[in-house]
Amino acid sequence: MEVLKYILAFNSESPLLFTQFYFWAFLAVVYLLFAMLYNPSRLHLRNVYLMLVSWFFYYKTSGLFLLLLLFLTLSNWLIAQRIDLHRQRRRKGWQVFWLVVSICIDLAMLFYYKYAYFGVDVFNSIFGTHYSIVNQIILPVGISFYTFQVISYTVDVYRGQVSPVKNMLDFGFYVSFFPQLVAGPIVRASEFVPQLYKPFHLSRRWFGIAVFWILNGLMKKIILSDYLAVNLIDRVFDNPLLFTGFENLFALFAYSMQVYADFSGYTDIAIGVAMLFGFYLPKNFDSPYKSRNPQEFWRRWHQSLSRWLKSYVYIPLGGNRTLFGKNVPKLIASNVNSFATMLIGGLWHGASWNFVIWGGLNGIGMIVNKVWRETGWHIRIIVMTATLVGLIIWQATAPCALAGLLVVWVGIVWVGTFIRYIWWWLGTVSGWTLRGVAAKIEQALGIAWAVVQTFTFITFTRLFFRSSSNLDPATANEVAWETATNMVGQIGGAWNSSIIPDFLYEYRAVVILFVIGMLIHWLPERFKRRYRLWFAYLPWWLMVIVVALAVFVVYQFITADMQPFIYFQF
């Protein structure tokens, strides 16, 4: 009886996560029944089965918040029907009315569960009041994802980009399909709904690819994310002052990889599991740290969210044409609207100011880079030199860690800019250009320079990305701000290079994993595609052995002894 209760009842202590044994046992059983029930002529049965399974999955993950998911499913399905009906009758006003009602309902739920504390905090700050939320509001798992998913559906129906789903159960399946329910990707109806009416299709090759994504995701999540986090990153972020500047800097870069490995690992698993059921989810990450500028980063990072924000925030705001409904120059419209979109994107990631700051920094980075790329070389070197001189004066007159850090950073960028300026100038004066291998090396160096700069910029924005979810917004802000300040303080001031060899040796496991992770990340895509295909075509028995071996290796990292605490600075 206890075992049955453990299996079936919701337990907040053990939610169904991809990294737990229980999930894979659940998947094995669900798949076995799926295989037994599957009949190409009765696709509806398959869809209903997977929907019920997904509801159970959500119940196990979030308990009675399943009712919220069902409510949003029902309301959006019904309203989309109404919108479609009015469109057929050409009643624009009613279409808009129902669209507004639907979005209000969706956002009200999201705001209540995710932003209530933040809203009260902001209200109190502005009006000097002391309101507080009496009853504790628990954040339902995945609400940010499925709310955005249903909004996209209703808006697409309004825009006439998709036909409304006739059958409510099919729609329920689309909203709640368990692999992507709690952490994305955010699937647009137009990408997923047509698959509901197609029979199961999975080639041998795609099966191999699915298994590859699952193993790839598991390894990313457990080894590159969790192991690194537990053994170094969390410690540094929790108590930056216990560590020197170099340790803080290393942890910050490692955190950049951890965030990527964690999130992309989870969606890799989601994509792989969905493929096993014959459903194809959109790719969500495309080696984002290969990006050469912040815009490209956001095209490669959390792609389903970026596309969502572009379609449902950036373009409605006016895109690159209008600002507040008025025609303005393209440069102003696109920059202001993309900055606003980044702020909203930041807030989507977490309900506190630090996430808004994070979004804002990304927005500023995008705008500055956009303007920079359209600036001539003479202006560039003048601006860089002036900035560097200004920072040096700042550091000399009112020294502080931030100024010191910026002097070093801008100094490095200045050196790179200066070399490129001289290169450009020589080329312009002599009309001489490189050819063949030399040209390729020149191009590769240029790309590497841009990639490193972008990676560094994105990494430093992550100072504001980290916040404990169990804190109220005011505390979360305070903790995030304090962490960022302390880390900058240590990186910019408490640098002790004599400890670097000791650190690298003592934390060699963490350092090696980080380096390997980054090297794999930076491998050329064609090479990655090749080894994915090589894996996909392995004989099935060998693939079974590889799976067992991979799980065994992953388990070693789960159960590995923790890195002992070592102090280098006294």
Partner: protein, 453 residues
């Protein structure tokens, strides 16, 4: 392209599970190859022990974050005498706190309106950044008067939450890895000295006199409290060292008055010799020194010159010495014998300090709960309860007060909960700032309750 049917995939999944099950069937337990230990679950573990989330031992008493406020603290437990030989673990089940030996300190507080009453708080990294001491200081100064943060080193290599120190040598701000040469009693061998002249902070800065040295002090936060205001600076240094505050004339060692009570000042330090520290204080009231010793097990005091310690404790009317150690040695202890060894070492430190500060009361704060990963599950270090009970026993034997941080937190497994609710760091060893405040408030509440009684 060959198409697969769902049953092919189901077969693949179950076959993979069967292979993994086969490994479990054949697995005999952890396997060590060189320095690597391979782990896997045996079949019986897979079948019989799969309920996750059950690793928090007696956390029932803790329940939730809110319940910490109303945590009942028992202090009337008689510790069981050790009847087994030292090699056997002796774990008393109800080891908690004992405040009776603090009575002289409580009485001394009543005179704080007329003179200084000093509290010296030594500890490991758990009290870095002025953690815990800061709450005690603020509360004591609010209740009995006084001001200033107490002792500070010349070069602040580890920032604190209360005071920002900036050391300039020839006008250049010194980072933590720079600055004057320092000797530290709890540091690596290369940083130690043989004559034991470390001073009461356990660290000394060596000035050559060749550079101009300036120390800038200002509050870390914009909210100012008693600890930020000081009206005199006590210089602990060789006679050859002198300081000048805000351009005033040079003063060699002793107490240097500051014109008007202030929160910030710039001190010029001149001469060649040893600087043991400076104390920012008021002439009356309570002073609480925060002296963290990163990575220390606490067995270092006997290496400090006893005359230096005695002089300092006597001259500054030190009435309470708090020692907060015990956590750093635990991760490296293979068995109980090491616990007894560590406690014995600490006992020697207590005896030594008691001789140096005969007028002071002593409070030993035991290690907080600490957890580590065993077979993928977090759990309290197995020897921690024994360490706690033995420290309490040692404290009783030496007639000093004892406060079990481990029990105050909620006992075995409580650190896991503290991490979950943001009160402790993910290393399962250190408190977060909020956690340190929580622990300090619990300690303060306990102290005041004992005082009332």
């Amino acid at each position: 392209m060959k198409k697969l049917r769902p049953y092919h995939i189901a077969l693949f999944i179950w076959l993979s599970i069967a292979v993994l099950g086969g490994i479990s069937w054949a697995w005999q337990g952890p396997m060590t190859i060189g320095s690597v230990t391979l782990r896997w679950k045996t079949l019986s573990e897979v079948l019989g022990n799969e309920a996750p989330g059950d690793t928090i031992g007696d956390l029932g008493v803790l329940g939730s974050l809110d319940s910490l406020d109303s945590l009942e603290i028992v202090d009337t437990v008689v510790v069981q005498p050790v009847v087994a030989p030292p090699t056997q673990p002796v774990i008393t089940t109800a080891v908690t706190h004992n405040a009776a030996p603090l009575q002289p300190f409580f009485e001394a507080l009543q005179q704080a309106d007329r003179q200084q009453v000093r509290v010296v708080h030594y500890g490991d990294s758990q009290i870095e950044e002025d953690r815990i001491s800061y709450v005690l200081r603020r509360n004591l100064q609010e209740a009995y008067g006084g001001g200033g943060v107490g002792l500070i080193p010349l070069h602040q290599t580890i920032p604190t939450r209360t005071l920002e120190q900036r050391l300039r040598m020839d006008g250049v701000v010194q980072a933590s890895g720079q600055g004057p040469k320092r000797n530290i009693v709890y540091g690596p061998k290369s940083m130690r000295r043989e004559d034991g002249l470390y001073g009461p902070m356990g660290q000394v800065a060596m000035l050559t006199g060749e550079q101009t040295i300036e120390l800038q002090l200002r509050p870390r936060s914009t909210k100012h409290n008693s600890e930020h205001y000081f009206s005199q600076i006590r210089l602990l240094a060789d006679d050859s060292i002198g300081i000048s505050i805000g351009g005033d004339s040079l003063v060699h060692s002793g107490i240097v008055p500051v014109q008007d009570s202030t929160m910030e000042c710039t001190i010029r330090v001149m001469g060649a010799g040893k600087v043991y520290g400076l104390s920012l204080e008021q002439p009356q009231g309570v002073i609480v020194d925060n002296i963290p010793m990163r990575g220390s097990s606490g067995a270092v005091f006997t290496q400090i010159d006893s005359t230096q310690l005695s002089d300092f404790y006597r001259e500054t009317n030190t009435r309470l010495i708090i020692l907060q150690y015990g956590g750093n040695s635990l991760p490296n202890m293979p068995n109980e014998r090491y616990v007894y060894g560590a406690v014995s070492q600490l006992q020697k430190q207590v005896q030594y300090l008691k001789r140096c500060a005969p007028g002071a009361s002593f409070l030993f704060i035991g290690p907080s709960d600490m957890a580590t990963q065993v077979e993928g599950e977090m759990q309290t270090y197995p020897l921690l309860p024994l360490m706690d009970s033995q420290l309490r026993r040692m404290a009783d034997k030496e007639g000093i007060a004892y406060y079990s941080m481990y029990h105050a937190m909620g006992g075995s497994g409580s650190m896991i909960h503290w991490v979950e609710v943001g009160l402790a760091s993910s290393d399962y060893v250190h408190f977060s700032r909020a956690g340190a405040d929580k622990a300090a408030k619990m300690l303060w509440q306990w102290l005041m309750e004992q005082k009332e009684e």
